[in-house]
Symmetry: C2
Subunit: 329 residues, 2 copies
């Protein structure tokens, strides 16, 4: 029996498409049952997993290249929010009956592009056939100095509440994708669509978060619900002035046409921005570090004693939301 | 807004069912975006992932408790084959439309039982709805002393080839599950069925493998195909005497009725035994260590120069197999 004859179709495809992305020595060229990683001395590993499923988290007809990037970036976003540096990832890929080799090539190409851009090698994985929709689970490993992972717990009364970038673009982009037009121009529409299609994880802000933030998380399930989670775990309350929540020009244009879309922007999810709290005496330094990193940060409110996250309008009224937190579940 | 009102159904269910399994301090009670793990000094992390999909790797009507255990055990098996100690796991769970809370309770209960038995805490996870079949991806982290992970590469000519336990029971169990009877008695049939339903990962042999083996892997895709993989990566050949491959009484009874089932036993997969090579001067020590650990090991052949894994019968003829390696792909 010639050795090549014993290789399954899976092995051959993996070798061809994915092994070139596994440049880390511990990945062993994807020829082993497992990978190894040697953490530096004084290092904690930061571990996270997030999955994306066709028809749930992305449109099945989306480009395979973009789907690969989305699958990685939702994990880069978690790692960044913890103040960590990505070190490597594993992929568990469930391949649907209609997934062909061209799709897999595009997918591997998207993984490669982001693996290089974020300097985070493929360490291993698993591929299986599924009769159901294509699904991609990414398991990502990051590192921080011992004890330095930034948690959701840790916010203290009087800490300032910050978010990066703009909020709501992705959830409005999904509505646009589904047909909403809101009389937007092409640039505005493209902005919202691209924010839904491809997260822009704030990896370059990780050091600033680790240095200055008392608590942090990424905004994946909507600002309102995610701030409520941070408040609950930190055992504190929070007050956000809705008028200060950063919105893109496109999101402002949508809300001007349909004011109800403001709530969707605040609760709709898929932002992949970072929400963090910073002690008052660190706020200026955090702003400066963010500026150096090239990331817009906006102070939207303040941590308070008590519990619950309150969003107040210009008149000081506390807003209520039909659905506080977005959930696929 | 009361804080509890902001919790999604997902958060409440996760808190109720899974948080009690996340006893490791780095799991943060599953209330964060990520977990952290502090490796001991001089430690390498060993990382692996394996997924199971309903209708592909298990029968959808199987008990949720057993499905949870299978999902974990295929990963424990990889960790053990690398000579590593399990340290923790993350679960990415894609929940099908017909998955109910009772199923999730049973699943969490199965995870808890094995998490305790193998001393390996839940560190984190992700749950999503899928329109397709239920799927479970487990990401497992183990540890070994620096540089000590046992690889598939490393076998040298004259090394002895060993396997643990018995080979072929699970693949015959699957046939039995599908209706094959082979005039087996109840005990024989139950043995095969239980080997298919629940892997018995050889975690207690990890130290012996790390101490004595030159190369190792778990047998998940069939002995013939998996040995071929080990030979290819090690750059050597192997000769196995088929008569020495350890078979259970039940498997022998099947083959007595239907001799063609021998090939299925050798190529069929789902064994979750360990295949390893041991230098000749270490073979006796390895046997002794295995005996101390309470694991049966059998020498089935020898590493040779050249390439390819040859299986020879009593007459010295090289066997050929219709399908050398089992693959779900």
């Amino acid at each position: 029996m010639a050795s090549d004859d014993t290789r399954s179709a899976e092995d051959r495809l993996i070798a061809e498409l994915f092994a070139p992305l596994a440049m880390h020595p511990g990945a062993l060229g994807l020829t082993d049952d497992a990978a190894f990683l040697t953490p530096g001395p004084g290092t904690d590993l930061v571990l996270t997993t997030d999955a994306v499923v066709a028809g749930v988290h992305f449109f099945p007809a989306d480009d395979a290249h973009d789907i690969a990037k989305k699958a990685l970036r939702v994990n880069f976003s978690d790692i960044a929010a913890k103040g960590a540096t990505p070190r490597g990832f594993l992929v568990s890929l469930a391949i649907a009956p209609d997934t062909d080799v061209d799709w897999l090539r595009g997918f591997a190409d998207g993984l490669r592009a982001d693996s290089e851009m974020y300097n985070c090698p493929l360490l291993g994985g698993d591929t299986d056939r599924t009769p159901g929709p294509l699904a991609i689970s990414v398991f990502m490993v990051g590192s921080v100095p011992n004890g330095a992972m930034v948690r959701r717990a840790g916010a203290k009364p009087r800490d300032r509440i910050f978010v990066t970038g703009t909020i709501g673009d992705a959830s409005l982009g999904l509505q646009s994708r589904k047909g909403a037009t809101w009389r937007l121009d092409h640039t505005q529409r493209d902005h919202l669509l691209s924010r839904y299609l491809l997260p822009r994880p704030r990896t370059v802000l990780a050091d600033a978060i680790r240095t200055h933030a008392s608590a942090a998380m990424d905004v994946s399930d909507g600002l309102v619900g995610d701030l409520a989670k941070l408040c609950r775990v930190s055992g504190i309350g929070g007050i956000v002035e809705v008028a200060r929540v950063p919105l893109s020009d496109a999101a402002r244009a949508v809300i001007a046409v349909d004011p109800a879309m403001r709530d969707l922007a605040l609760t709709g999810g898929d932002d992949y921005e970072i929400l963090c709290t910073v002690p008052p005496d660190r706020a200026a330094s955090f702003r400066a570090a963010a500026q150096t990193a090239g990331v817009d940060v906006t102070e939207i409110g303040e941590v308070a004693s008590g519990e619950g996250a309150r969003f107040v309008d210009e008149a000081g009224r506390v807003l209520t939301f039909k659905q506080a937190s977005f959930s696929h579940f």
